[in-house]
Symmetry: D3
């Protein structure tokens, strides 16, 4: 499946930490940039996310702000 | 000002292209990762965004999906 | 690629209409439900979206409100 | 009140499960499509959401991606 | 219809300006706070938005950042 | 740092309540308007958010709906 999202950033999972319903997954994009994704616990299980996994962080262009 | 957003990715503006009301700004994060931000034309003017500018792409953790 | 997004709704493209930078794509989910996605023009070209295409409308759970 | 959101999908609550601060509500849209909304626990109480309730899942067009 | 969104801010439309597909609506919340909503042109027509209208700006809690 | 986000609403923290991974911060904007931000627990610690703090609620224009 091809996605409309312009932003598909390649990285590696550093940590996948579950809460009661929501999990936080930290992804190293290289070059000093780390992305945190807050996703459901179910999604962590579904994708069997664990440290070291090669993943893609996906973000809609309309959800990106710019700071300068 | 310090921000609550977990994701503040450092990069350089590649292109800031305005539409009629909405602009698309492409930011090189290094390591082969490029982020597109869709922001208002007014924001492009306000921040005087132009190619080569050092900027920060800001995304809430709740707006990041993971693909594997 | 498997996605963390809980919401992957199957439907058919009704219309993909481009603006100057942003396009609106209407997707029929059946059962009287139609979803509009606002995506970049580039994404419409990339996915070669046209009426009748079988597609998936993807939405993060954190971007869904409930009305009752 | 009339809403600007293009996407107001009619369905029935399957489950409203609370976490410590955030709840996940699953809504059956018919035609095999199910939407999960992640909303605050307070909202679940406010709307008194329970299985079988007729509800509307509301999503901004800018928060919908397309996969093909 | 009652909404799950925690943030329903009362204000008055200052301006509703259409682009080719996307419109920007500025809403005065009082107390020096102005909110801009970027919505579809169709929504502007549907709600017949015009300066002076009493409206509600609706935002999911998960889409609000905090700066300090 | 200057932000592209059109919506930077000034207010005071009423309450910052942590969950297991996600916190809810309520901000008084004056004029009867209160905004709830759902942010990570880490962000609450990072910004040392506490009642009475002068803060800014930041929202992208594309994440604001209008009700009338």
């Amino acid at each position: 499946m091809k996605l409309s999202a312009r932003n598909q950033l390649k990285g590696k999972v550093i940590e996948a930490r579950k809460g009661e319903t929501t999990a936080h997954v930290r992804i190293d994009l290289g070059n000093g940039n780390v992305v945190t994704a807050s996703i459901t616990n179910e999604a962590v299980d579904d994708l069997a996310l664990k440290p070291g996994d090669a993943v893609v962080a996906i973000v809609k262009a309309s959800n990106v702000m710019v700071g300068k």
